[in-house]
Amino acid sequence: MLRLKLALLNVLRNGRRSFITLLAIQFGVISLILMGGFFTSMYEGMRENVIRSQLGHIQIYQAGFNQFGSQQPEDYLIDAETLHKVTKLVESLEQVELVTPRLNFTGLLTDGNRSLAVVVEGINPDKESLLSSAVKLTAGEDLFEEDTDGALIGDGLFKSLNLSIGASLTLMATTADGSFDARDVTAIGAISTGTREVDNRFMRMNLQHAQALMYTEGVTRLVVLLNDTKQTDEVMALLSQAFKKQGLALELRSWSDLADYYHEVVNLFDGIFFVVQIIVLAIVLLGIVNTMVMAVMERTQEIGTIRAIGGTRSEVMGLFISEAFILGLIGSLLGVIFAILLAQGITAAGIMMPTPPGSSQTYPIRIFTEADLLWQNGLFGLLIAVVSSIYPAVKASRMVITKALRFA
């Protein structure tokens, strides 16, 4: 009790120095929480964008599609009967928000002067408008079921063909039976998925129109949107079990399996975060070491006295480490509190970030302050403080008593 009180009083003894040390700890904790919170919000934004613009949470394919489908996609389509059965099954799950079919193929889009290779997606417009909420309409109008020959053109593609709304185009593609066919389509709108590479060669049209062009009633995939991304694994397991039970030769892929770019970005930013952590650690560590070394120097005679009246080396070490612990605890708690306030302030300010590489949309800075991020970085601050005190504490404990007593 008294020993702890002594540590606390020693922290208060040189108020200005302790204040500066507390600022160093707070700086570390606040920087890490704000940066971590910003990255978390960015990851979430990117993840939800990729889920709600392209991938959905789960995709269902004919068995073998992911291994062989790229060579012969027409051989791995889900037929109409299976489509109906699976849609009913998936829709019966309470975690599912919606399920929608897509027919994907590549084709050649021409305006009569120029032709460009495109990736076409036949969709159910009503359902897709819910699933693809992150797909932004940049010009024209959205696609509806009654727009039989309407098409939404990726805005990079829209610009490169120098199109205007209502422009008549011809889409050519190889049909499911291997012949070649073409359909007229009308550019009713331009869209942005948020990924520039996709927007440069992507278009969407009504599923029935796409099926008519491909001479098929099948679809490439069923895209499932869940109420919450966290339910993905659970629903994957449920569906996998149900398909097995009903003898359906289907395979599943989660958004995580399909979002390679997302994982690459996350890995890159995690690496950056690690480097920043090291830099912050070095700054805070040096700050505290400096404070503690000065405290040891100033209190040399006192250390000698404590040792002379029976204090062991570990007692002296414990005293300095306790002081660092108190500084770390107060600094970390204040750091966490200020970080929450700053995060809320920055998020509320709605500051817009410039368009990130590979993306076509700007986004506001949001900083998430999740419990895990707060306690982990708070603990990080506390640990840095304690670790920083070890060297000065050892130095203090190893002083020669007689020399320390003579120190003035």
Binding site: L6, R13, I306, I309, R313, T402
Partner: protein, 243 residues
Amino acid sequence: MTVVKLQGVSRYFPVGNTPITALDKVDLTLEKGEFVVLRGASGSGKSTLLNLIGAMDDPNEGEVFIHGMALSSLSDKQKSQLRSHYIGFIFQSFNLIPVLTALENVQYPLSLQRVANKEGKYRAAQALEQVGLADFIHRRPNQLSGGQMQRVAIARALVTKPDIILADEPTANLDSETSKQIMDLLGSLNRNTGVTFLFATHHDFVLSRASRILELKDGHIVKDEPVQHLNLVNQIALGEEVG
């Protein structure tokens, strides 16, 4: 009962390439309850002798025994425990911890012994009462006079009930009146508690309170005489009335 025994103790300090002898083959025995004054000029080896007996320094030759325990056989931790339980220190500049009150300063050695807080406070208050500071227990060192600070330091040395108290020039920073009061206090504590006192001092008025006087010169004990023999001489030397 022998509390301290030194056998052929020598201590050298290197100054440049030449070792300077602070103590040279010193033999000494201190018995329980003695009030021993250690005299000598500056650099005669007084502080070195106190440091060696206080287990704060190691001799280059010879052996120091406290209660029959050879200090050379003890680890640093064991020496700390020995200081904590058997030895009390009184320093020239008091060496109180400035952020603690008088009570807490006195309680601190007990907390090092893991004595419970409540008991520690009680014993510290008793020790402060013993030195006449019952009304000053909540004052910090900077709110006390030099004499009061030295009384707190004495209470701190006494509170663990040590067998020997080592005092290095305890009155050097005090005026003569306060010094005499402090010496009277220590004398009475010696008589009442039976604790052995070893004082390094160059104040002559201390001699009249001593039961034994040791004189050090160039690292040697050149005089070791009981006070009965010296009393008359001292009183004459101090100009006191011989009765």
